[in-house]
Point group: C2
């Protein structure tokens, strides 16, 4: 049974930024099979019709960096400088288990779908639990098991994540929606030897690598004192950089770093809100974009950026960059939409399959209701998306041809039951946080 989205303003995000003001999109199975103007549409009886009612029909958003399971910790120790060391690391060491990872993942999946995200790139522990949740929801994702130079929540040995990742990749490789990946944590938490082992394995298994990079001042200082170079230049020298790499953050990068990243085809996951909230300097993401790098947007984990949707990040991207440059002309709305869709798809190495509404691409499509009082009137569709829309204006989310949310209702999960589970988990976390507070006082 084909599906047909009718009466939409189709923002294709194809190379010519084609917009069809009164358009339709036909979906055959999991692929987009036809796009056109309503006057040319012939609806046949075997079509499931979805009426966009004049709303915006656009590619789903791509969240290039997050740790979705951390939603169970969202808001814990907020605004505290030592929240990671005080709460997060002890929690992960002593409390985190498979069940908690699964519940956190499901909670975030609802938020992602409600916000119009159709693909995301995740790295965390017990990543197999994330994969199972993603499979149950029918989302598209790149999922990486985190690898650390010390024991981790799901491994008693240093670099145990490599073995976990090998099992995980062998289990999920070839899945139509899940792309398993390696996720070394960062160049300051994985040594060169293991990074290169991961690189070799990723090449052999043909999977992506995702890693935090040039995010921390102490990271920059460490590489400067050890090698007299930036981490990016060091990683190029050892041969780690490639098109496989999805690099998250890239806050402290200079022009030479950008050229290194570009010539190696490294994708950038720019976490605008998380970086601001943690008091880091403004990332030169527009310069990376201008230099021809693949740049997408990420939320970072829910303890860092809190929100998991990309739509509410778009305005942050343009405004923070305009303010940093003292120039309101830079980063126009269309650039933010590009980064949030096709740009993100390129970063994840998926631009042939997703990121735009084009014939032959997978049907990852959302509808934004444009009749809402916060959006009307509309003089420019990109402006409406970036500056006026809120996540709740997304009314339909389709991944791989399947409708995951319709009329704001997520169809694939009992929301109330999940929220009850989240409340129970959060009670355990609260108790443990109080215990950690006591330990800190001793």
């Amino acid at each position: 049974m084909k599906k047909c989205i009718i009466n939409g303003v189709v923002i294709t995000m194809d190379d010519s930024r084609n917009i069809i003001e009164d358009g339709f999109v036909i979906i055959d199975g999991n692929e987009i099979s036809e796009i056109g103007n309503m006057k040319d549409l012939k609806v046949s009886g075997d079509m499931d019709v979805i009426d966009a009612r004049g709303g915006i029909v656009m590619p789903g958003f791509v969240n290039c960096h997050t740790h979705i399971s951390m939603s169970v910790f969202r808001g814990l120790g907020e605004d505290m400088p030592d929240r990671l060391r005080r709460y997060m690391f002890p929690m992960e060491d002593e409390l985190l288990d498979e069940e908690m990872v699964g519940i956190g993942a499901r909670l975030s999946l609802i938020e992602l779908i409600q916000g119009g995200v159709t693909t995301f790139c995740d790295m965390y522990y017990f990543e197999d639990e994330v994969a199972k949740a993603v499979r149950d929801f029918g989302m598209r994702a790149v999922l990486g098991e985190t690898i650390l130079s010390k024991p981790s929540p799901d491994s008693s040995e240093a670099y145990g994540g490599i073995e976990y990742a090998k099992r995980f990749i062998s289990k999920w490789k070839g899945d139509s929606l899940i792309t398993p990946a390696f996720a070394p944590h960062a160049p300051y938490t994985c040594d060169d030897q293991h990074l290169m082992e991961i690189k070799k394995l990723a090449d052999e298994l043909d999977v992506p690598i995702t890693m935090h990079l040039s995010e921390m001042l102490h990271e920059m200082e460490e590489f400067d004192s050890k090698y007299g170079k930036t981490p990016i230049k060091h990683l190029e020298d050892i041969g780690f950089l490639s098109e496989r790499l999805i690099a998250a953050h890239l806050v402290y990068v200079d022009d030479e770093d950008i050229e290194v990243l570009r010539r190696n085809g490294v994708g950038a996951a720019h976490n605008v809100v998380a970086n601001a909230k943690s008091g880091r300097k403004v990332s030169p993401a527009p310069a990376m974009h201008k230099a021809g790098m693949n740049v997408g947007l990420g939320t970072d984990g829910p303890m860092s950026g809190n929100h998991q949707d990309i739509l509410s990040l778009l305005g942050y991207y343009t405004k923070i960059q305009k303010q940093a440059a003292l120039d309101n002309r830079i980063c126009p709305a269309v650039e933010a939409v590009e980064l949030g869709t096709i740009g993100g798809a390129r970063v994840l190495g998926m631009a042939d399959e997703i990121g735009s509404i084009e014939i032959g691409k997978k049907a990852d499509i959302i509808i934004i209701d444009t009749s809402a009082p916060n959006i009307q009137p509309i003089y420019d569709y990109y402006s409406a998306i970036v500056y006026a829309a809120h996540p709740h204006n997304v009314v339909m989310t389709m991944v791989n041809g399947s409708v995951l949310m319709s009329d704001r209702k997520v169809l694939v999960q009992d929301e109330d039951r999940l929220i009850d589970e989240v409340r129970e988990v959060s009670k355990r976390i609260s108790r443990f946080a109080r215990e950690l507070d006591q330990r800190a006082r001793l």
Copy 2:
């Protein structure tokens, strides 16, 4: 008939920042008459019960600076450096009329109410139309007719706004919800003589003054070259500053300016998003707050900030300031909530009446649904409001004891009919924009 909000987490925003985890609020007429813990509640039969279902019950947000009627122009000429001169000023001169101002006001009023704003401070032309809309909706507002040193959309003479404002003030003075005001546009568009005439009239009539101040680089240069001083110091010297003044923007202020503003009791309307979007530097709003000034948040008009709600500004405030200071400890969530509620009330000179949930204050109260997947779990209520909530999580908005929105439905306006009117007006505006584009090409 009394109203009773039950089963809420009552965030009072009183001086001790008291939070009642399982609380109720009783409203008698337009005032808050009782606040307490659910276990002590005796519901009587003559009470209209509003069940908060565990949600956050808090004072409504205060938007200290906007031009709500400009919503009809929202998104026009986006990201263009000359949008004001190219579109806005000709539109206001040649197209703007009473009907358009009224429609724009009604559109924004829906957005304000849906976003949990219960009081706002507005300045525009045909302000009487705004007042009529505010009265029809039952909102609370400070409304100022704009005064300019040249003819304006509703006046054929320079400074004609003064006469308009006098009539406007005499019509609305004493209204229970509307506080009429003078709104000289800016110190660079009104001369000293007229500013002091306005000041004298405002003292006589006992009304507020609202004005743009220290917003523009050209303004700073003009005052520096004319007087060798900042506009703020000049205005103190001529005797214009007082507690009556609600000063919008205050971007280019130094420490001495802050001391001048503080000692004169001037309130600051900080427009965090509009300032960022227009590529201005980060305002030292936290320094003003720390110095003991009254500081609130404003959206600026819908062409500048696009959104009219305050809730989605709270995160911008903390994140932009943390990033500018390279310090994640500053501007904690509670500070943002303070600025958005009681801080704004102080700026408008209304802190005795609104801005917190306290016995004897007017019942301007909202409920935020905390069961939403983007908010759960909650470890800190201020964090949940600032970093996790979206405007659509506001489910009930009450102004002066009257429920204006219940279960997300605005009760006081037929939304669909209004959106149809907005679409019609936007067609006229689009046609005129095309005409202006043609003129520009000639």
